[in-house]
Assembly symmetry: C2
């Protein structure tokens, strides 16, 4: 058994909140208003999410300075509209910005608020997300996520899975990487954290991709903690 962490840092998209259902929920009326009810809103959500890693990769590679995810989401939305032959010029700017901010309005998994609230009694709970601060703050207030503070890409200036994202978060918290535990539903994220010396906790989210196999399922490792929910994680961390 690994040592107990001093702080728990949470991946957010997919780990704490259900991005796919939430984006589909907002995409449906958005597409219908454009006369494009023929586009499956879940497919639209998957496609939008598919543009997420390439957009961040521009920043990770150094080809572009760190740019907030709110802005990347707006840019990838416009690219996706073009792919669907939707004329961006027919949509007013405020409507586009508001829909791009759908990523601020993601619903938590059913166990998230209760689990975080219980974990917070024993551990400081912070985000370690690629979401920017304003996005994560609005999401937290809407969903009732009781973060002690919001950290992540905007705090360090680096997108995960770059090592600076994990090491910089530990430094801001004033603790060693080995005292920080990343909680995530993604093996790729946890592998990068482990390589930086962090404690790792995997939480299984089988519905993240609507029940389909996770794209990084083959990257599974024997993580320090493995849990089926935040409630289960609470019991394992307190055990």
């Amino acid at each position: 058994m690994s040592t107990k962490p001093l702080v728990l840092a949470f991946d957010v998209f997919g780990t704490v909140v259900d991005w796919r259902s939430s984006i589909a929920r907002e995409a449906a009326p958005f597409l219908a208003a454009l006369g494009r009810a023929d586009i499956d809103p879940h497919l639209f959500a998957d496609q939008w999410r598919g543009l997420y890693q390439p957009a961040m990769e521009e920043c990770r590679s150094g080809r572009r300075p760190y740019t907030r995810l709110d802005i990347l989401n707006r840019e990838t939305l416009e690219a996706l509209l073009v792919r669907h032959d939707i004329d961006r010029a027919t949509i007013d700017d405020q409507t586009l910005t508001d829909f791009a901010h759908a990523w601020r309005r993601l619903d938590p998994w059913p166990d998230a608020v209760a689990g975080l609230t219980r974990l917070k009694v024993r551990f400081p709970i912070v985000t370690l997300s690629n979401g920017n601060t304003a996005l994560t703050l609005e999401m937290a207030r809407r969903a009732g996520l009781p973060w002690d503070t919001i950290l992540g890409a905007e705090s360090t200036g680096y997108y995960k899975p770059l090592p600076q994202a994990y090491l910089g978060t530990a430094e801001i918290l004033g603790i060693a990487p080995s005292e920080l535990c990343l909680v995530a539903a993604h093996h790729s994220d946890l592998a990068a954290a482990r390589a930086c010396g962090l404690i790792t906790a995997f939480v299984h989210r089988p519905l993240e991709y609507g029940g389909r196999r996770a794209p990084d399922a083959d990257a599974a490792q024997d993580w320090d903690y493995q849990a089926s929910s935040f409630i289960d994680l609470t019991m394992k961390l307190e055990g």
Copy 2:
């Protein structure tokens, strides 16, 4: 009456917490253990606080890169010990670090937790403090301060009252400076915020200096909101 803010950002030292009594409380046993019970712990607190602005000024002026307040507090502590003819070498490193972290263990004013909790229902509440994140996080957990997130010097890289500290905070929050309200007990802080276009709320803390006149009392202006406590501020903002 000015427009309602979208977010409330709080100065912390003196506005939310009573640094003087709290530092004196920890200084008393620290000094006694050194055989220096002759030093008045409240005087020691005032002297330590007196070294705060000059230390930050090194960073503000650009002579030194942004350095976390935890580190500055440790440095000014060592300087203060020298001033009192206390040999730093007689104290082990961990004891010095722990006492320098007394600034993480400041007690809130009696109305702070109840007032913040009520304000948080209507407004996002964030810090806009010169305290670094780890310091402010530990303080919040110890005192029960329910911040939505911790922002301030470490988030922007600039110490107040530099304009970048206020403008950078609004930018991180994704709002205009005119939509952000600084809540502070210090006229100097509020004047700098107002110069950047922020809404200003003064909360009177007559006991910050042990009942003595505040050093910036002459800098009073007609602030957008003026309150005698966070509870009073709640009523004025909701009015």
